[in-house]
Amino acid sequence: MKILTTVKNVVDVELNIHLENGAIVEKGLQYVINAWDESAVETAVRLKENISAETTLVSIGSGEDNTKMIRRGFAMGIESGIQIDDPALAETDSSIYAKVLQKVYEKGSYDLVITGKQAQDTDNGQTGIILAEYLGLPCVSNVIAIEVIDEQHIKVSRLGDAGTEIVELVLPAVVTVDVSINEPRLPQMRSIMMAKKKPIDLMDLAALGITHDEVGGAALKSEIIEYTAPEKREGGQKFEGDAAEITARVVNLLATEAKVF
């Protein structure tokens, strides 16, 4: 079984984000592997450990941080890595990411694509699903468990509105995973050292047969034009002291001031 997993380098959400003139200030930002993608990588590696599978990771991005993230995937157990780096991809939307990934998929004939269900920078949650549509493959999103039935079938659990949906998929297929699917491993020092030596297959859009017109400007279905700070929610009244007394006071305020009862 050939597994393709996608990873995105995203801003560290634990750090503060500063804005200036409607844009995010780059200085001071740190980049990390998207948490959902880290779970996707872990899912792929665990499948590889249980069945015979080849694992490949693909990342769209540039720079040192992006390379480091790919190596982290290697250290976790992924065998090959592809990096799509092209200045024309500086501004993208989910459908463009999906279009690029579609070409990567078509070059490799994979049986299973595993992506994170969303990226923690955009919180869009679209790319994996749109990719499946472009490829005409079956897809289940928000997956919390995967079981391989045989070479052609997998069974997945998806967190849905009515409960956990158990879905049987015919391969090739695309799944997008939730972080709750697993606890990603911390790579061992030895694996980290070995990962440094692994080659990364670097490609630009031309290598994928995509022209710049297909990804930039008019091809963008949507574009972010401004960032603003969210309305800050202020803390209100905090009460300390005798439990019976302060609780009664708060309930009274909930009824008279907040009018929720």
């Binding site: 984000i17 948490a35 699903i129 928000n142 158990i166 960032y227 969210p230 009460f239 609780t247």
Partner: protein, 319 residues
């Protein structure tokens, strides 16, 4: 006039609040409205869908649609969108909506925006507002495509009294089942529980409740108030609460009238899932807990002491 198609979510044959909220917003924009509803035995919903503000009701009533399956659901929405000539296709904030919206957008070659909290329409200009980066920033996004498929965040729009529509039913043809993604069963742990997304009051438990005894204590309060019971990630990871009850960026995002955080310290991840609530009450024994920075009312104290008093006092005041 813009044309807005709203996807009506249902639960066990009952209409969820999102349809009325989205239709109210569409009407306030002066749009022509339609609704699409999918399921089995749902034709009875037509009068309430019209009353909620839809002028046309696209109905896909088929035994094959009883259980959610993203492929056939997307086919129905695409069919309705084409027949109606929709400019906007709006989904409520449900797992089905999040799964189907990108498919519909891809099939229609439309723009897709998830998690939106507002839509701005001025002449030809269409923009949406949405939070990103775990609620740390708000994006203003310009829509370039002619059609916009959007998933609207819980609590973004309010259902307005006095909105109404007309009954005009269009029956959709049954979609082909997805033979490559077959739903085998739905394991419902939730049963008759109150859905977090629809609950007027949500009470969540965190590490402070310690174990099942603590959960049971809070559950009694939740039962009194007919509230949805949620949890922090710590409680889910610890195996005390099921995944579908997790409130937070990686779980459910809720915006009830009243949110009670019991024994929850208030990690960024959790705050991102409940900050949109109208009123927040926090109970925590640590006066420095970050939850107090967003709570309208904070009780510093031992929850095992406070929660029973809370129950009694609420009972008294509601009597």
């Amino acid at each position: 006039m813009a044309k807005v198609l709203v996807i009506a979510d249902t639960k066990q044959g009952v209409l969820k609040n999102s349809a009325a909220e989205l239709l109210s917003k569409a009407k306030s924009m002066g749009a022509e409205t339609a609704v699409v509803v999918m399921g089995c035995g749902i034709e009875t919903l037509v009068p309430s869908l019209a009353a909620a503000g839809s002028d046309t009701q696209y109905i896909a009533d088929d035994p094959g649609l009883e259980f959610f399956s993203a492929g056939p659901y997307a086919s129905c929405v695409v069919d309705a969108a084409r027949q109606f000539g929709a400019d906007f296709i709006w989904f409520g904030f449900s797992e089905s909506g999040k799964a189907v919206a990108p498919r519909v957008a891809a099939q229609l070659d439309a723009a897709c925006a998830t998690d939106i909290t507002d839509v701005i329409c001025e002449g030809d200009k269409i923009e949406v507002i949405r939070p990103a980066i775990t609620n740390k920033v708000i994006q203003r996004v310009k829509i370039n495509a002619g059609q916009l498929v959007a998933v609207v965040r819980a609590g973004a729009f309010e259902a307005v009294e006095g909105v109404s529509g007309t009954e005009n039913v269009v029956t959709l043809s049954s979609p082909a089942p997805d033979l490559k993604a077959v739903v085998k069963e739905i394991v419902s742990e939730a049963g008759g529980e109150i859905d977090l997304a629809d609950a007027g009051v949500v009470i969540s438990v965190g590490r402070g409740v310690k174990d099942q005894t603590g959960i049971d204590l809070v559950k009694e309060l939740a039962n009194d108030l007919e509230a949805g019971l949620g949890a922090s990630r710590a409680m889910v990871d610890g195996g005390f609460m099921p995944h579908y009850k997790q409130v937070g960026q990686t779980g459910k995002i809720v915006a009830p009238t009243l949110y009670m955080a019991i024994g929850i310290s208030g990690a960024i991840q959790h705050l991102a899932g409940m900050k949109g609530s109208k009123v927040i009450l926090a109970v925590n024994k640590d006066p420095e807990a970050p939850i107090f920075n967003v709570a309208d009312y904070g009780i510093v104290g031992d929850l095992f002491e406070v929660v029973p008093i809370l129950r009694e006092e609420i009972k008294k005041i509601r009597a």
